[in-house]
Amino acid sequence: GDSWGIFTFLCAALCNLPALPALNCSEELGAGQSIQQTYDLTRYLEHQLRTLAGTYLNYLGPPFNEPDFNPPRLARAERVPSATVDLDLWRGLTDNARLAANYRAYSRLLCYLRVLDGQVGTAELRHRLAHFCASLQGLVLSIGGVMSSLGYPLPAGPPAPSGAPPASNDFLKKMDDFWLLKELQTWLWRSAKDFNRLKKRVPPAVVTLRLEARGF
């Protein structure tokens, strides 16, 4: 890990010397910048989801849009990867395992989200959902990039969504959507923490240094 860090640092330094945007050599730059970028993206998705969820829950209507609405998790919702793992246990995992878990979870969530996208009625919401989906796709890619830059093998391709039958009635379907958004929020919140931690552990690249010096 250390030697990688030094290597990436040197790479970043070299790339920044000619004052070119450091992005041109992101592949070589590797982990440092990728982690930072993934972290920023996670925060951005969190931000997007906050507004999107509000809009979407309103679209679903009451009681889903009530702030204190906290329904029990239905069994059929288990197909949505849950982030409700014990925090200590989660921290105990290796970076690789956590990254892989993230990768898998977002791949899975993205699939459900795309299904959701097709059902939304209003164009505005659909547009925002599509934008969110695309960004989430980017996050999956980013995590993959971080993993590869850190030398971890990518987990196997996301298993096809289990052939669970679509919800029989509208309320249950809305319940699924509610939980999907809720899980997404949890995942993104946790991922942000993960990447922040990872970012600190990985020897910073020049860009990282600069950002940290500015109080990030």
Binding site: P21, L23, D40, L41, Y44, E46, H131, G144, R210, L211
Partner: protein
């Protein structure tokens, strides 16, 4: 012709085709074709086409590949480019496709004459696309959540072909649909981009001839964002008068992008922007307090933002918002000055206090009022006078003394520091030195040399000097350490009077003044010159100074130009202080044209022409000529008068010639006695030295006759007639009578003899007259009744009275006669005439005797004289008788003066013979 041929060929072709149709059993079949079909060729490459004939056609119409003609449009391709591959195939080769045009046709020359088209192809020539260069992208934020990305590139050269440009972009393992530009070939807009994932972007250009890709651009779109500027900017004033607080809303959320800002501001009405230091606004925020502003001033603010790390683009400047800072106390007191008018009474001044309204940045608010205090410094006990005014001047009547005036400007917040002006009783301190001005573009610089002592400040007064309006004083103050200021608002071509007063801590220096122009011009008119006095060779010119308004500058000199009509112009330069000049060395009696020119530093202008004529004579010249002439004339007149007077006898003689007494002529004839002659000649002998032969003696007597009255002249004329008849005879007698006269005076003493003579003459005369003439009876009568004695006496009295006057004349004539005694001249002459009568003959004496007897009736006085005369006469007669021996000589002489001789008788006759006028 050619097209005609073509039609013929087509018609033939159609026939052939119909034949083929029949031959091939109903199928429409071409007789051949070209390979390749419709090629797209690169410009400059080489190209070969083949025309392949169908076997069936060969059989039917004896058509072979050797008969093929290639054409580009209507132009036949040269045969050198053909190659016959076999009977049915002909090829054509072009080394450069740029010479190609469409269509390319393959034709057959059927029967050696008729050209038939077999097949044609279209050819497209163009270029493969170049590699697009300079790809760059910007993400423009158009709304809170919409971030389209616009990429632009340089497509390179024109391809002449339909070329597709595609903007391709992808993530590491995911591609997006291409962005295809519409209408343009050098930019494309991706409607939605996703941040924080690196994107690879490139451009692909493709046409029929090839494909080219630009270098890929890999970037995170978040790094190329041009965000929307912050909006809803608001400005609020804080507690401090120098601070304004800005607040705004950002249109990009913090998780997306952290922002830094630029804030710029300016005073309303000013054009220069100031900027808040960028370090102060380099972190995300939605408000900022701008400090260090002026109180009570309106500012305009504007803000922009960009990504905090400086990667990306600045947004546009936001809309401008204004805000006003709160009021503050005035920062300084108003400049204070005074004008003292002491003209009304010496003991009381009219003091016009005036001060300048504070500039907005000094006033720091709305000035509500000015507070003035006036204190008499000469007496400590005098009260402090206070005035509150809203205007910027105050006029006070104050007794002549030293005062201290203060003024404070007050606004809502507070009062300014006081401005103090000391008005001393007299400006006794040192003035500034070396006051001077210098124009600087549109400003007038006033400079001076400071006095030796410390000066608090200077007051510069100036005013426009004009003849039509009063000098309205403007003024301004300058600090004590400056030695020059620029005056603004100075008009060109106007005269300004500038005065500088130094103000000391304890008094005031006297003002130094200077006149100045910002810019000078030539005078607006020239002086009008006139003559005050014109002489013969000089003329005094006068003129009035130009008014200040006409001068347009400092008059440096006057130039007088004068000339005669045909002469050269003479130029004289005159000092500008003069209003009079004397032109000298002019030509007399000449028309001169004179004009005058006033000159400033920037030119000169002439006044109207004035003409004058010099005089013919100089001053005193006429007098010098006239006076002598008059004098000379007078002298001549005088001389002439004198001459005439002197020569009056002679003149008389000329004008009234003596008519001889006819009676006397008779006597001459009648008395031939020699003794008488003897007497005369004896007389002459006795006085040979006297030589009284001169005729002039007789003339004098004639002259005297002239003075007689008209009355006398009448009888005289009568006598003349008488004389004319007896002229020749009387001559000798006259001459002798004259000669006898001088001797008479000598022999006056002998009275006895005269009496004797007298008695004898009376007898004679009476006889002669009667005998000689027919008229005589009349004369005889008259004689007897004669009043002669009376006339005679009158005559004598006249002689006596005029004796003094005629003395000189007589003297002259006597002088000719030898300078005889003058004292008796009168009487001599008188006696002589009598003598002549006596001398003529003894008869004459008798005649006189008659007269005398007649005189006895005269008054006593006269009678006395008569007696003496008679006595004298008798003497003469006596003497004449004695000098008879000389007589012949005299007779000889007498004929010379024959003409004159008779004249001598006339006066005698008149005088003696008072009886003549009857």
């Amino acid at each position: 012709m050619l097209s005609g041929w073509n039609w013929v060929a087509c018609g033939f072709c159609l026939l052939l085709n119909i034949c083929f149709l029949e031959a091939s059993g109903g199928l429409v079949q071409s007789c051949g074709h070209i390979i390749p079909e419709s090629p797209v060729l690169a410009l400059g490459s080489n190209f070969t086409a083949l025309c392949i004939l169908n076997e069936s056609c060969l059989d039917f119409g004896n058509i072979y590949a050797s008969q093929i003609i290639w054409k580009i449009k209507n132009r036949v391709v040269p045969k050198e480019q053909y190659r016959e591959i076999n009977r049915t195939v002909s090829s054509v080769t072009f080394n450069d496709t740029s010479s190609l045009a469409t269509p390319l046709t393959c034709n057959i020359l059927a029967d050696g004459q008729i050209e038939q088209n077999i097949y044609g192809i279209t050819i497209t020539v163009g270029l493969p696309p170049e590699k697009p260069k300079n790809l760059s992208c910007v993400v423009h934020q158009v709304s809170q959540l919409t971030y389209p990305m616009i990429c632009t590139w340089n497509p390179g050269r024109h391809t002449f072909l339909d070329t597709q440009y595609r903007l391709k972009y992808r993530w590491a393992r995911e591609s997006f649909p291409d962005c295809v530009p519409t209408d343009v070939n050098n930019s494309c807009t991706i409607p939605d981009v996703h941040f924080f994932v690196n994107l690879e972007i490139w451009v692909e250009a493709a046409n029929a001839l090839g494909k080219a890709e630009s270098d890929p651009l890999v970037l995170d779109p978040i790094d190329i964002v041009k965000p929307l500027s912050p909006h809803n900017l608001s400005v609020s004033s804080g507690i401090l008068p120098t601070v304004l607080k800005l607040s705004w809303e950002n249109r990009i959320s913090d998780p997306v992008m952290k922002l830094k800002f630029n804030i710029r501001y300016r005073i309303t009405g000013d054009t220069n922007w100031m900027e808040v230091p960028s370090e102060d606004t380099a972190s995300p925020r939605t408000s900022f307090s701008v400090q260090g502003l002026r109180p009570y001033t309106e500012y305009v603010f504007s803000i922009r933002c960009m990504k905090e790390d400086g990667v990306g683009y600045w947004s546009d400047w936001s809309e401008e918002k204004t805000g006003i800072t709160t009021e503050d106390e005035p920062s300084k007191g108003p400049s204070l000055w005074r004008i003292i008018d002491a003209s009304h009474s010496p003991a009381f001044w009219t003091v016009h206090l005036m001060w300048k309204a504070l500039k907005p940045y000094e006033a720091n608010g709305v000035i509500l009022q000015y507070e003035l205090t006036v204190r008499d410094k000469s007496s400590l006990s005098s009260p402090l006078e206070k005035y509150n005014v809203t205007s910027t001047n105050l006029t006070l009547q104050l007794p002549n003394s030293t005062y201290e005036v203060t003024v404070i400007a007050r606004n809502r917040v507070g009062g300014s520091p006081p401005s103090v002006l000391l008005i001393p009783a007299s400006n006794s301190k040192a003035p500034v030195k070396n006051l001077r001005t210098l124009p600087k573009y549109d400003k007038l610089w006033v400079g001076w040399t400071a006095p030796n002592s410390y000066v608090l400040k200077y007051v510069i007064e100036w005013c426009l000097v004009s003849s039509t309006s009063d000098c309205i004083i403007e003024w301004q103050t300058a600090l004590g350490d400056v030695q020059g200021i620029d005056l603004k608002g100075i008009k060109p071509f106007k005269c300004y009077l500038i005065t500088v007063y130094p103000l000391y801590a304890d008094g005031q220096g006297s003002g130094q003044s200077v006149k100045a122009y910002l810019k000078q011009d030539r005078p607006s008119k020239g002086p009008t010159v006139q003559t005050k006095k014109v002489g013969k060779a000089e003329a005094v010119l006068t003129w009035n100074h130009l008014t200040v308004d006409e001068q347009n500058g400092f008059i440096r000199n006057y130039t007088i130009l004068y000339k005669t009509i045909d002469g050269n112009e003479t130029v004289v330069t005159v000092d500008p202080s003069k209003t009079e000049y004397t032109l000298s060395s002019l030509t007399s009696d000449t028309l001169y044209t004179v004009r005058m020119m006033a000159s400033t530093d920037n030119g000169s202008r002439s006044g109207p022409d004035f003409t004058f004529t010099t005089q013919k004579f100089g001053k005193g010249e006429i007098e010098a000529i006239v006076v002598p002439v008059c004098l000379a004339f007078l002298l001549i007149v005088l001389l002439a008068v004198l001459f005439c007077f002197n020569k009056r006898d002679l003149i008389k003689k000329h004008i009234w010639p003596i008519v001889p007494d006819p009676s006397k002529s008779n006597i001459a004839q009648w008395s031939p006695q020699v003794p008488a002659k003897h007497n005369f000649s004896s007389k002459d002998q006795m006085y040979p030295e006297g030589s009284f032969t001169d005729v002039s003696v007789v003339e004098i007597e004639a002259d005297d006759k002239k003075s007689f009255s008209e009355q006398d002249l009448k009888p005289f004329d009568l006598l003349k007639k008488e004389k004319s008849t007896s002229e020749g005879h009387s001559s000798g007698i006259g001459g002798s009578s004259c000669m006898s006269s001088p001797r008479q005076s000598v022999s006056d003493s002998d009275d006895g003899e005269t009496t004797q003579n007298t008695s004898s003459t009376v007898q004679y005369s009476t006889v002669v007259l009667n005998g000689y003439r027919d008229q005589t009876p009349v004369q005889v009568f008259s004689r007897s009744e004669s009043t002669q004695p009376l006339l005679d006496s009158e005559e004598r009295s006249e002689d006596h009275a005029g004796g003094g006057d005629s003395t000189a004349e007589r003297q002259q004539y006597f002088r000719q006669n030898g300078g005889q005694d003058e004292t008796n001249t009168d009487r001599l002459c008188f006696e002589r005439t009598k003598q002549i009568t006596h001398a003529n003959e003894g008869d004459l004496v008798g005649f006189v005797q008659l007269q005398i007897s007649g005189q006895s009736s005269q008054p006593l006085g006269l009678g006395m004289e008569k007696n003496t005369q008679e006595a004298a006469l008798s003497n003469v007669l006596q003497t004449s008788t004695e000098g008879q021996t000389v007589r012949p000589e005299i007779v000889e002489e007498n004929p010379l003066s024959v003409d004159e001789m008779p004249k001598s008788y006339l006066p005698q006759t008149v005088r003696q013979g008072g009886y003549m006028p009857q």
